[in-house]
Symmetry: C2
């Protein structure tokens, strides 16, 4: 059994391309339709109902493109809208929080796990619940890092100012002696070198992109939705604002060139 | 002749409350309906067409509330959407760019004027045009400062990290020996003490809020739209995301307590 339809992937903007990068690497025959909601980005400090409304509109758009599964490549949208989309839709919906929590629990020796993310993700408690479901005695310390997204989008991933900001955000987590840190926002993998340097080699950094791609592979396999062997994939990129900024910044997140971005205004 | 209808004021979020503060001070009898587009904030790095679409929707909402004039209390929306709204609407539309340019030209001795703002405002060239229309030999140096808005929204108006960011942004303007700096974003007045300290006492900081309120007063007077003498003003605040964050942050921008914020989802 196989299915040549594309996988739909969405994010508030360009951060989800770090997840697309991993899906392309692990599932090279799968076609992808990506939607970045660049006209309404960021989601991180917006209310749950607003993020749910946006997520529903994007899922409708992806379904209209004939996708066979939806990957929510955005931590805030996963935290606020995953249960809703799963309840509403017939196709499989995969988020980034459960895979990230699984990888964190597997990596942690002490059970002291830090989670950094947007205000929305941290306040939602989604990671706490997902981690405790797997390891009830885990101690989870959450820290919202609202300045990280704009710093990464400016390309300031290794500046003195970014170091000062990171030092302040990480301080409570260092104090908690976490041995594992979940990068609970798809922008944060670009800060890995800086975070690694500040936290030292004993703290494992968990980037949920890899585990989310693995989960997507498992779901497609279990449901007989894999692309036919030898299929030539087609990758399409849409965004809700004009495509120029997406094109300019996207390649840094995707780790490869993007030829074309299509505009699909929403909101 | 007088008109008791409210003035409509809008911004991408809460920054426009610095303009509302000045309107309340200069026009204490005028009622105000404020709309902050917190579900889609920020506008600063979004494309002109997206910002025009949002501005049109908000103007429709304000007109549905019976306003007698519209103040665009957002530099990016003024830069992208003021000519369009003026052409489309029968009521007077006032922006922040012309008043800011006028104040800058009046303040500058040398004619070397710096403008800081969002990417959208600086790229639009709106301040350059407005300043050159008043003083053709002015030398205008624009600098986009995309990290200032998130830093102000986090309340980091006097941190070491903010100083480093400001130092880097201001360096080209210091190099140009500007004697006047337009704060071309309604969030920036909260950075005045830091900017003043970094630039020294010889550089005049122009906050367009005061001049925009004065322009609003002139327009209402010229068209016979002033509130009746002794009118008791009513101030209503709307936002497109949930009101909690608006309530929490808004008072810092308005400089007084906000009792109630109404939700009006858009987008």
């Amino acid at each position: 059994m196989s299915n040549p339809a594309p996988i739909g992937v969405f994010d508030s903007g360009i951060g989800g391309l770090t997840v697309v990068h991993e899906i392309m690497r692990q599932l090279p025959h799968e076609s992808i339709v990506y939607f970045g909601d660049t006209a309404r980005v960021p989601y991180g400090n917006k209310g749950p109902e607003t993020v749910q409304r946006y997520s529903r509109e994007i899922a409708d758009f992806l379904e209209s493109q004939g996708v066979k599964a939806i990957v929510i490549a955005c931590n805030t949208a996963t935290a606020h809208a995953l249960p809703m989309l799963r309840a509403e839709r017939a196709l499989p919906v995969i988020g980034v929080v459960e895979p990230g929590a699984r990888a964190a629990v597997a990596a942690s020796r002490s059970g002291a796990i830090g989670v950094i993310g947007t205000l929305g993700t941290v306040k939602s408690g989604a990671y706490d619940r997902a981690i405790h479901a797997l390891r009830p005695d885990a101690r989870v310390a959450g820290q919202a890092c609202p300045l990280f997204v704009p710093l990464v989008e400016e390309g300031w991933t290794d500046r003195a100012a970014t170091r000062l900001v990171a030092d302040e955000y990480l301080e409570p987590l260092v104090h908690e002696h976490v041995d594992t840190l979940v990068l609970g926002c798809t922008h944060y993998p670009l800060l890995k070198p800086l975070l690694h340097e500040l936290l030292g080699p004993t703290v494992r950094l968990i980037d949920s992109a890899e585990e989310t791609a693995a989960e997507t592979a498992r779901v497609l396999r279990d449901r007989g939705l894999e692309a036919p062997a030898g299929a030539v994939p087609v990758h399409r990129f849409f965004c809700s604002d004009e495509p120029s900024r997406f094109l300019a910044l996207g390649q840094r997140f995707l780790g490869r060139a993007i030829d074309r971005v299509e505009s699909h205004p929403l909101g």
